[in-house]
Structure formats: C-alpha cells, structure tokens
C-alpha cells in the first residue's frame, strides 16, 4: 500500500517558523540543486537574510564518479557571499543516505571555513549510510522498499512530494 505523503506546501511555513528563531546576522542560506534549491528559494525570502541565496551543485564532489561517471548537465555553483565565519543553513529536499550532504560540506569548505552549518530538509526518509542528521526537518516519511521519494515542482511553482520507482 502507498503511504500518505505530507503536503510539501504545508511544510514550508512550519520550517520557516522553526528557522526564524535560529537566524542570526551571520546567517546565510544555500540550496542544493535541484530540489533543495526549490525549497531554499521559497524559504529564503521569509527569513530576512542580508545576503542573496546561494545555490550549489555537488556534481564535482560526488563519491560515485568512479562508478557512475559525471552526471549530465551539472549546474554552476553560485555562492554570492563570503562563507568564512558564517552560520550556514544548508537546504535539501529529501534526506536519504547522507552522501549528498557529505559532498556539499566538502564543496563548502573549498569556499572558506564557516562558523557552523545546519542542515534543513523538507523530508527525512531514513536509510542513512553516513553519520549525518538534519537539524531542521519538515517531516519524517516512510518509503516502501524499491521506491524513491522525490520533490516535484509544477509550472505554477507549487511543490509536491511524490513516490516513484527506483531505490
């Protein structure tokens, strides 16, 4: 049977409210391509940061290059602020093995030494292969074996979590 998935749109204000308490003058936000960037684009304007949103594609830091090769169409990482000494909120859509977050932290340190990094995810589906946890999580979601939890964005900009085939 298919479990009922949380409404992504309803999770956004809840996450924003939790983050608000955490934001300091040294805070800045970075979204991970592609789904994490969508979530970050929605959260960023609600939180009054002084810097624009940063966007990151971790294609060049993945740990499966030797096996899978380079993924098609990597995007340019754009971090329009100094990372050094900042409190960074790293945003992704779905937290699963933790490998994307590991790669993102490696890439971040090539930009500078942040004071802290907190992980913000819309959904945590479990299945961690690395010791990584989210400090801010919209919802925990159970995903049946052989299915994958994905964030989709409609033409209207509306976000929705969906299950699709594939592990």
């Amino acid at each position: 049977m298919t479990p009922k998935l949380p409404d992504a749109e309803a999770l956004l204000p809840k996450l924003a409210a939790e983050l608000k308490a955490r934001v300091t003058p040294a805070s800045a936000m970075i979204g991970l391509h592609t789904g994490g960037a969508w979530v970050a684009e929605r959260l960023h304007p609600l939180l009054g940061f002084k810097d624009p949103l940063g966007l990151m594609d971790i294609a060049f830091y993945r740990d499966d290059y030797a096996k899978e090769g380079l993924k098609h169409d990597p995007k340019k990482t754009r971090i329009p602020f100094e990372v050094e000494g900042r409190d960074l909120l790293l945003v992704d859509d779905v937290l699963y093995t933790g490998r994307t977050v590991r790669a993102a932290m490696n890439e971040l340190f090539d930009y500078g030494r942040p004071r802290s990094i907190a992980l913000v995810v819309l959904a945590d589906r479990g299945g961690r292969q690395l010791p990584i946890e989210a400090q801010f999580c919209g919802a925990k979601v159970e995903v049946p074996a052989g299915r994958r939890l994905r964030l989709k964005r409609a033409a209207s900009g509306k976000l929705a979590l969906e299950l699709e085939d594939g592990g």
Binding site: F60, L70, H72, D73, K76, T77, R78, D110, Y111
Partner: protein
C-alpha cells in the same frame, strides 16, 4: 557499420579525437559541463576532487608548451596526477614505436592519454589499442584536428553571443594548414550556425573547402561584412616566405585584421585567435588588445573546457 571510434557502446564519449562525427548532444554536453567548471576556476580553491587517484599522461610527440600547460592545469584542477612526457626527445628518438610507447605507459596505470602528434590520425591509432578503461584526448594531430581548441572556441562564442542560431562567423587566414579551422567549422555547422565564412588567399584554402558548408571569400573586406564573430588563424612562420605567399607584409595588407577592416563587421563583433599571435602579420596590435578582442578569455575558458572533456571521458 563501423562504430564511431569516439563513443562507447552506450553512445557516450569514450575518447575525444575530433569534433567531426560528434553528435550535437555530446558537443552541447561538453559546453554545458564546462560552464560550472569555469565557476571552479574563479574560486579561491580552484580544485575539485573528481579525478583524485586518476593518472593523466600528457604525451607530446610534438612540442607545444601552451597546449600542454593548459591540459596540465586542467588535470591538476580535477585532482588527477599529471605526468608530462615530451616523447619527441625521448623514446621515439631511440626508435621505439608509437604503440610500444603507449603500451609501456599503460603498464604504469594510465587513465587518460592526452596526445599531440605531427601525424594526422596518430590519436586514432592509439585509441584503437588502449584498454577499455583508458581514454585518449587528441591535443592536435598533424593538419587534421585540434578538438579541444575548437570546443573552447565554441564555448567562447556561446559565452558572448548566447545563441548559435543567428550568427555569421568568419574564419580568416591560413585555413589550409590549420587543424583549428577544421575542428571549429565542424562544430559551428553541427551547432546550427547559419553562415560560416572562410576568408583567405586561394593558395591557403584547402581544395573543396565549400563541402564543409562554408562560404569562401578571397576579399577580406567583403567577407567581414556584418560578421558577429571573427576568428583569426595563425600564419605559421615557415609559410611566410614559402611558395604559397609573397611575404608577411603582403599578407598583412590583404588579410591582416586592422581596426579599419574590423569596422566592416558588426559593432559588437568579437575577435578570436587560437594563439600564439603574430602581431603585424595576421592581426594588428590595436585589434589584438582592443575592446572586441576576447583572445585572453579564450585561454581561461580553455581550461574549463579541458576539465569538462577529461572528466566526461574518464567517467565513461
């Protein structure tokens, strides 16, 4: 049907030997991948861990410091180990065959061979004999091809002009001896540039050049009219006083790019040159250093393009 020697069984780029024969989607994949690498080269830490543990052998059977250096920088920025071999002055002079040289290097656990050779086709021969996990990148073979130069030219044109679909591009000078020109012309036509022109004296035009889909001009002023992009080719020193040309001065008068001739192109035209330049032979200094010139950005983009090519082939 003979398989495309550059692609693997899945249709992915296994070796980069020539722009000729590369499908449009692979050309675009290389240009699209080069863009984020250009971002890496602007950072303080200009290095990504992608090719950590891989070995890139720069195999130069013909000297070319500049091309070798850009491949070396690209490989280092991908965290690969780079081994530079100037084979022209080592084993080959002791009589070792090309394939024996490669077999020896392969035994040293190579992943990528970057090959420059005076004979057309040498990189193809090597690509046919390497192991499945080894990759060959052509860094210039005889008069045949110089695909990474062609790709960086395409990247530069897209960077400044965005869309290939409405451009007029002129390639000027010694088209006959230029491997850069051939690679570039193939790329431009594959990516849908509606008008590619070649400009030069009859003696420096390859026979049947029209078959590449270009318009031929012997009058530079007519050829430059309304161009968006002007690509100047290097006139090789050894040609200047050869039988094909009266003199360098004469060549400059007819085919050297001056501000006065460039004024015939569009007001926002860009001027490119693969380097090294002969100032006062094919290009006048005020143009080379002027506001239309993108010659130095080409060099910077070249590193990102070579990073893209290496990381794509080594991952396939």
């Amino acid at each position: 049907m003979a398989a495309n020697p550059q692609l693997n069984a899945n249709g992915e780029l296994q070796h980069l030997l020539s722009i000729e024969g590369l499908p449009r989607d692979i050309l675009l994949q290389i240009l699209d991948t080069a863009e984020p690498f250009a971002g890496v080269t602007e950072r303080e830490v200009k290095k990504v861990p992608l090719m950590r543990g891989k070995s890139v052998f720069n195999l130069f059977f013909e000297a070319s410091t500049r091309t070798r250096t850009t491949f070396e920088i690209a490989a280092k920025r991908l965290s690969a180990d780079v081994i530079n071999l100037n084979v022209a002055v080592s084993s080959q002079s002791k009589g070792e065959s090309l394939l024996d040289t490669v077999a020896n290097l392969s035994a040293m656990q190579a992943d990528v061979f970057v090959v420059r050779h005076a004979s057309s086709g040498a990189p193809y021969l090597i690509a046919r004999h390497v192991k499945p996990h080894e990759h060959v990148i052509n860094a210039g073979d005889g008069r045949h091809a110089h695909p990474t130069q062609g790709l960086l030219d395409l990247y530069t044109i897209r960077h400044y002009k965005k869309d290939f679909g409405r451009l007029t591009v002129a390639v000027v000078g010694d088209v006959l001896h230029s491997r850069v020109a051939r690679s570039l012309i193939h790329g431009l036509t594959t990516l849908g540039v509606p008008e590619v022109r070649v400009i030069g004296p009859q003696t420096l035009m390859p026979a049947g050049v029209e078959a590449l889909g270009v318009r031929v001009f012997h009058d530079m002023r007519a050829g430059l009219k309304d161009c968006d992009v002007v690509v100047m080719l290097r006139l090789q020193n050894e040609r200047m006083n050869g039988p094909l040309l009266p003199s360098a001065q004469e060549f400059f008068k007819n085919y050297g790019l001056t501000a006065e001739k460039l004024a015939l192109a569009k007001a926002d035209a860009i001027v490119m040159h693969p380097g090294p330049m002969n100032r006062g032979v094919e290009i006048d200094s005020p143009v080379a250093d002027g506001p239309h010139s993108v010659i130095l950005p080409q060099v910077t983009f070249g590193i990102a393009v070579r990073m893209a090519v290496m990381s794509i082939v080594a991952g396939n």
